[in-house]
């Protein structure tokens, strides 16, 4: 049944994958061909925009869409644990985001062919942005899993962006090193490669957030 849920979510969210992938590839090809700005600048610009835009696209109706279309009643009547429903949505969204960054990163690395940046640098930069996007989306799930409208989802994910920005700003200004390392925005660094431990260090936090999100999603029954 879980596989069928995954299949259902995959079909429903396929258009988001196609849209984000098409837009990412189109802008990547355009910017890397016209070369107004250096390759590194193009990579950072595309990665940062992707880091914010792709989670927004997925977040807008991944949970609130069921409410708006009134299909949530039917979904909750299916004899599967709520957490499976939640994780089917989360896994498909996360897989879609990862796939988009995978393809974009490979294209960014292939198109310039090492003419300006060192090999694999652009790929690494883009994939770090993809990791940050996954982290931001995961945090959104904790706050946005009970939203009923697209507007509420937009507000929830915007709040996640702003909150992490405030923490990042505070960590940079006040030089709180541990807080810097847990911020998703810290993953996008030009001066030095991000340590794998920084990325792996996100996992415990994400696991906790996911458990909270799953619990909140399961509690939706009370509010229907």
């Amino acid at each position: 049944m879980f596989r069928m849920l995954l299949w259902k979510e995959w079909k429903e969210n396929l258009w988001k994958l196609c849209f984000c992938a098409a837009a990412s590839l189109a802008f990547t090809i355009m910017l890397f061909r016209i070369r107004i700005t250096p390759d590194l600048t193009n990579c950072i610009a595309i990665s940062v925009v992707q880091m914010f835009a792709i989670p927004i696209v997925y977040a807008l109706d991944i949970f609130s869409g069921e409410m708006t279309n009134r299909t949530i009643h039917l979904l909750f009547k299916i004899p599967v644990p709520r957490k499976q429903t939640f994780f089917s949505k989360y896994l498909i969204s996360a897989a879609g985001i990862l796939l988009i960054f995978l393809v974009t990163g490979l294209l960014m690395e292939a198109m310039p062919g090492g003419r300006e940046a060192t090999p694999l640098f652009l790929l690494r930069m883009n994939w770090c942005a993809g990791t940050a996007a996954i982290v931001l989306f995961t945090w959104f799930c904790a706050f946005g899993c009970q939203t009923r409208t697209e507007a509420a989802s937009l507000v929830a994910i915007s709040a996640v962006f702003v909150a992490w920005a405030i923490i990042f700003f505070w960590a940079m200004v006040c030089e709180v090193h541990w807080a810097r390392h847990i911020t998703p925005y810290y993953l996008i660094r030009i001066d030095a490669p991000v340590s794998p431990w920084t990325i792996l260090g996100q996992i415990p936090g994400l696991a906790l957030v996911l458990s909270v999100a799953c619990g909140r999603y399961a509690d939706i029954r009370r509010y229907l």
Binding site: F19, E150, L154, C174
Partner: protein, 622 residues
């Protein structure tokens, strides 16, 4: 309708949204003030408050959407629609009340910043009244008004908060970006208040706000409703953004790169010309085969087989400094049957202190000698073979040495201050004066400002060169055209002589209508204004401008523009090339229209602090 009741109702409807926006917008300023207090600087905010101004337009749009949605969601909409309420008055009141409330909330960071700065004693009142502060304040006031109006109108017609906010923001961004791409000739009516380029935005933002407001009233009255789907909206938005970027790229990146080569590291990467061949860094020929650049070393006369000329060392005056014209890296080459030569003028001077009454002494140059040198390429280096003393051209002006030089039909025309000398260079190793005219250029004033529509330029009184070249050289001298030794700002096409002037705002083409023994008469033929995007990158005056074969090449720092300036056609931009982080050092248009471009990348330096040098072969932009 009780207006006071409506006002009260609207405020109550919006109170939570306004509080949320207030909290959101005050977080950074308060956080900054707390951090400043902890570091002992006092409780005040400056940068944080300024940073929140970037979010003000976004939040204004959100408040607008919330304002509309409060009454236009499905159930309430049916309710008040069935009541005898004046729709236009109601919507107008909603608009105004929401706008005032939004602006009041969005002004809080600025007020907080000013108040805390005054209280902490770090505020200077005269900073507040500076014109650029008012200009910025005006811009940041109008932008939230515009986004509020657009989002209000969108929500009336779409009736979905998130989507109408996104559409409204997209429209606002498009309105802000589009003027950068269109060649609009709008005069700055408020140039004393706002920045030059943003002078266009003042009427645009006001107009857009007014149009959006009127549209919202009409949409509410006629019950217009646009059904949207998230999928369709996202695809449409992405397509429009892509189209906008293509339009932008077409404005500034429409010359194709045929070949690109890294050619070592150096600060001096000049392109010079001998006949049809291009010379790079004075030592290398640049050959183009099948759109590929190749470099071959220049080889001069064989020092073993050719008789070595008498070694003439530059005449070095005792204790004198030497400055050359053209500057280091630029050359005026001349190829004869005997070999390759280049010409340089050496200016020998002493630096003296000039005493001034009641003021600090001024350092001034005292020129002692002006010498025209010929160097011949022997083997792989240039060696001096001849010199010609031109010191008499200084006349009574010893404190300056304005130069100009051009090779015309085996004759070198040299300008030294107000004097002109014509030298026979048929045999470059034996230069001879043909004509000398001292102090004939005193009437020639050198202009760097905008020309009137009709004006006259003094014609050089030299008979040794033909009239067409006299006219060209006279015009180039008038504007002290820096590259006159191998290029010009004058175009001669089908017998029509055109003078091209590039300023910060436009390109002007003046046509030489007639001339007599003393003057050349010019009339303005056409002006082509720069778009705001081009204006940002255009160089002032005519520096780094080159006219060749009916085209004007204008390059500066990171960008190159090519214009078709042929008479009988409107001035039209053929191509625009931008490469950021590169400094465009020199260009050499080829006969077939392709362009050779020499650049340095000042972000990539070697251990000797020399930048990477590149040669680009660009496609013919025609």
């Amino acid at each position: 309708m009780r207006i006071s009741g409506i006002v009260h109702q609207q405020i109550c409807q919006l109170k939570w949204h306004l509080l949320a926006c207030f909290g959101l917008i005050m977080v950074l300023p308060v956080e900054e003030a707390i951090v400043n207090l902890q570091t002992g600087d006092g409780f005040y905010s400056a940068g944080g408050a300024a940073f929140t101004a970037l979010f003000a337009p976004l939040l204004a749009g959100l408040i607008a959407c919330a304002n509309v949605q409060a009454d236009l969601n499905e159930k309430r909409y049916i309710f008040w629609r069935s009541k005898p309420a004046g729709i236009k008055l109601l919507m107008a009141l909603k608009f105004v009340i929401g706008l005032i409330a939004a602006l009041a909330v969005l002004a809080c960071p600025a007020v907080f910043s000013i108040v805390t700065s005054i209280l902490s004693g770090g505020f200077h009142f005269n900073e507040l009244v500076a014109p650029n502060v008012w200009a910025l304040a005006l811009t940041f006031l109008l932008m939230p008004i515009m986004t509020y109006s657009l989002c209000f109108a969108c929500n009336v017609i779409v009736r979905n908060t998130a989507r109408s906010w996104l559409i409204g923001m997209f429209l606002a961004c498009s309105l802000l970006i589009l003027p950068l791409m269109l060649p609009l000739d709008v005069k700055d009516v408020v140039t004393d208040v706002v920045f030059g380029i943003s002078g266009f935005y003042l009427p645009m933002m006001l107009t857009a706000s007014a149009v959006a407001f009127v549209f919202a009233l009409l949409a509410a009255q006629h019950d217009w409703h646009l059904q949207t789907s998230l999928k369709g909206m996202l695809w449409a938005t992405a397509a429009l953004v892509f189209a906008l970027m293509i339009l932008l790229a077409n404005q500034v990146a429409n010359i194709k790169v045929l070949d690109e080569q890294h050619v070592g590291d150096s600060w001096h990467n000049d392109l010079n010309r001998i006949e049809d061949r291009i010379i790079y860094r004075d030592r290398t020929y640049v050959d183009i085969d099948d759109d590929r650049i190749s470099l071959t070393d220049m080889k001069g006369a064989d020092p073993n087989t050719s008789p070595l000329p008498e070694m003439l060392l530059p005449r070095e005056l005792k204790d004198c400094n030497d400055s050359t014209y053209p500057d280091f890296g630029d050359r005026m080459f001349h190829e004869t049957a005997d070999g390759i030569y280049n010409y340089t003028i050496h200016r020998y001077y002493l630096t003296e202190l000039f005493e001034r009454p009641n003021r600090q002494p001024l350092k001034r140059r005292n020129y002692k000698s002006i010498v025209l040198n010929t160097d011949k390429l022997i083997g792989k280096s240039f060696r001096p073979v001849c010199d010609l003393d031109l010191s008499d051209c200084l006349t009574d002006q010893k404190d300056r040495a304005w130069m100009g030089m051009r090779l015309i039909d085996n004759m070198i025309v040299v300008r030294v201050n107000n004097s002109v000398v014509v030298v026979n260079a048929k045999d470059p190793s034996k230069l001879k004066r043909i004509e000398t005219k001292l102090d004939v250029l005193k009437k020639l004033r050198f202009f760097h400002t905008e020309d009137p529509n009709r004006f006259a330029i003094p014609l050089l009184p030299i008979e040794s060169i033909n009239l067409e070249n006299r006219v060209k050289f006279s015009i180039d001298l008038r504007y002290s055209y820096p590259g006159m030794y191998n290029s010009s700002m004058v175009d001669i096409h089908n017998g029509v002589i055109s003078l091209l002037r590039v300023s910060e705002k436009n390109i002007s083409r003046f046509v030489v209508t007639n001339w007599d023994n003393e003057n050349i008469y010019c009339t303005l033929a056409e002006t082509r204004p720069f778009t705001p995007l081009e204006h940002l990158t255009a160089a002032p005056y005519s520096w780094r401008t080159l006219v060749r074969n009916g085209r004007l090449y204008h390059y500066h720092q990171e960008n190159l523009m090519v214009f078709d300036i042929r008479p009988g056609h409107r001035i039209r931009k053929l191509g625009h090339f931008v490469r950021m982080q590169h400094d465009f050092h020199d260009i050499a248009p080829l006969n077939d229209g392709r362009i050779l471009l020499s650049t340095t990348n000042y972000r990539e330096m070697n251990e000797y602090n020399e930048p990477k040098a590149y040669l680009y072969l660009l496609e013919n932009p025609g």
